[in-house]
């Protein structure tokens, strides 16, 4: 959240966007799985992904079925 605003909803007061910690073991497992599945992906090529975001996890809002 970088936009200047006079009022912020309660869930944002006192905190910035969810900060993700590195999860190197899980990231290594994901890389291994991608290799086993023979998918040609780089893990973090999407601009919108946080550098510490895992793509199998639930850390950044991915739990909801309507990802909108």
């Amino acid at each position: 959240m970088t936009v200047d605003t006079q009022v912020r909803p309660a869930i944002y007061v006192g905190q910035e966007r969810m900060a993700l910690a590195p999860a190197p073991k899980l990231a290594a497992w994901e890389r291994d799985l991608i290799e086993r599945l023979d998918i040609e992906w780089d893990l973090h090529v999407l601009e919108s992904m946080h550098p510490n975001e895992t793509i199998s996890g639930s850390g950044d809002g991915w739990d909801d079925c309507d990802a909108g």
Binding site: A10, Y12, M18, A21, L26, L46, G57, S58, G68
Partner: protein, 320 residues
């Protein structure tokens, strides 16, 4: 592959680069006489794109990620995992936020209409069911009525009621009723700064709950009859931002498993991913159900065979 089993055609509705979908597709096609199509719903603008007409002579086009035009009426099951993705890398040439919103909304509307109109097989899960079930008001009431222990909760934008609730429950937490993907927020303890911010409290409802102490968080995957749970140990109130934590397989009491199954049945779901907390006194506190929650990371953290279990479940739904 077991040759005596029925063949099945299955589709996954999801977004770009969904590792869950690709892992299940590979497992399914390796072990069962099944073909799995992946629909990347944020990339339908690739050729051939969506097409549909109410005239039956016009064949509808619903493109899979490999460009195949799939006949929805010939599918046995759809795993309806995600529809759209506001963080997509698709259409980078469209930079106006309103134009991007229109693409997102109208693509989802067209795709959902085609799916619900043309598909006649089994859903995992029916869109109307999971949209209702993921609403925290709906699921909290259902969990309470079925006897699950839930935290004392207030969903409100009344500053007076919120302050009274937080006085009665020192250390109360605040979290989103639904939240937005563009700016997810971690569950947080309500502080004096928030309680003094009349405008912030009033501008939008939020969930206020009693603090459930403890460091034992339980993530439960229920796929049909199967229940696979993991215990995640974290001192953080919200474990999601840090997945570099101890995690092991966990066995739930049978009575609790029955209650989770009853809740899914009540919500008309066949699967769900639950968040519970296990207190130091050994009581399980029910926090929420994610009708299409993420589960793959739990296999990565614990070794639980979730890809295999989910594949068995999905194939079973397809040939049911």
């Amino acid at each position: 592959m077991r040759r005596h089993e029925k063949s099945a055609r299955i589709a996954v509705v999801t977004h770009e680069r969904d590792l869950h979908a690709h892992a299940v597709k590979a497992e399914m096609e390796r072990r069962y006489p099944a073909r799995v199509h992946i629909f990347e719903s944020d990339h339908f603008s690739r050729a051939p794109g969506l097409s549909w007409s109410p005239l039956e002579k016009e064949e509808s086009v619903f493109p899979a990620v490999d460009g195949t035009a799939v006949r929805l009426g010939e599918l046995d099951a759809i795993w309806f995992r995600r529809l759209g993705n506001t963080r997509t890398s698709a259409n980078p040439e469209v930079t106006d936020p309103v134009d991007r919103e229109l693409i997102h909304v109208d693509t989802n509307a067209a795709a959902l209409g085609m799916l619900t109109t043309e598909f006649r097989g089994r859903w995992v899960d029916r869109p109307s069911a999971f949209w209702a079930a993921q609403n925290k008001v709906v699921q909290l009431r259902a969990a309470h009525e079925l006897g699950l222990r839930i935290p004392e909760t207030l969903i409100s934008q009344s500053p007076e009621r919120i302050r009274a609730f937080c006085r009665a429950h020192p250390g109360a937490i605040v979290k989103a009723v639904r939240g937005v993907m563009q700016a997810p927020a971690a569950t947080a303890v309500v502080g004096e700064e928030l309680l003094g911010d009349e405008a912030a409290l009033r501008v939008c409802p939020a969930i206020y709950q009693e603090l459930v102490p403890g460091r034992r968080h339980v993530r439960v995957q229920v796929f049909g009859d199967r229940v696979l749970a993991a215990l995640l140990e974290s001192d953080d109130l919200d474990w999601r931002p840090n997945l570099d934590i101890p995690a092991v397989e966990h066995r739930l009491p049978e009575g609790l498993q029955d209650s989770l199954h009853a809740l899914l049945k009540h919500l008309d779901l066949t699967m769900g991913v639950f968040d519970l907390k296990l207190t130091d006194e050994g009581e399980y506190i029910w926090l929420e159900v994610n009708p299409q929650g993420q589960w793959l990371f739990v296999e990565g953290m614990t070794g639980l065979p979730l890809i295999e279990a989910f594949t068995d479940f999905l194939y079973g739904r397809a040939v049911q």
